[in-house]
Symmetry: C2
Subunit: 142 residues, 2 copies
């Protein structure tokens, strides 16, 4: 799975005349291993464990690259910073406004209705985000 994604990335680089570097290799493979949303800083930290010389900017630019070739999605949950998500792992989110926990969900019926709505507006869907904010089961009992 992750191998497949790496191949897709390499194909994209070759096609665009971009270069395959050690840094991109480390950053992308680490990112693909993380099957949930991850922030730049957090990814940087993981990447530094493997290759300490890698800087914030390179992680940032690599994530933009992944986004550009459709392998990552950028999200903004209300806390000011961007989180990136492995595009292969699409799901929607329920965010607990008390403890910050993020639970993922998926519902094909909702996806279908969404398609229908877009169709009515002659709107061509590229991606979507659906987030539910509230209290998770644990925080309700406090």
């Amino acid at each position: 799975m992750a191998l497949n994604l790496m191949e897709t990335l390499k194909g994209y680089l070759k096609e665009k005349g971009l270069k395959q570097t050690r840094q991109r290799e480390v950053i992308a493979s680490t990112f693909f291993k993380t099957d949930k949303h991850i922030g730049i800083e957090e990814l940087l930290e993981k990447v530094k464990n493997i290759e300490p010389s890698i800087g914030y900017v390179t992680v940032y630019r690599t994530l933009l690259l992944l986004k550009e070739c459709g392998l990552a999605h950028q999200r903004n949950f209300g806390d000011g910073q961007s989180l990136f998500e492995n595009a292969g792992e699409h799901h929607d989110h329920m965010i607990c406004i008390k403890c910050g926990k993020i639970v993922e969900f998926e519902d094909d019926r909702i996806e279908a209705l969404q398609e229908e709505v877009a169709k009515n507006y002659h709107f061509k869907i590229v991606s979507h985000r659906h987030e539910i904010y509230g209290a998770c089961s644990f925080c309700q009992t406090e």
Copy 2:
């Protein structure tokens, strides 16, 4: 409608021992008149037409206040800045990734399914956002 919202705000202020000022009056009523999402700068501009001395910070803090008492929701569409939305006017959004146009939609069946999903996870919904990104009818033909 807007009058009703102003009353709600005034009630909240009184309850919390906060003060009712000319600035808050102007900012809130202008905000309530805008039935779509608005940014801080944009609201500031409208407000300055009525009361030129009002500053960015006061608009900002008033919006936080409205958010606090549930009269406004804060949104982050991927462009870096926050938009605020009149809580009375809930709807979901389709955002054109080419021209930036935002179309609003509403579908009760989706809302219902969402409730169902949350129930399955014992999650208590406070609010939600559902955004569809893609190409609007106009931009598809270009």
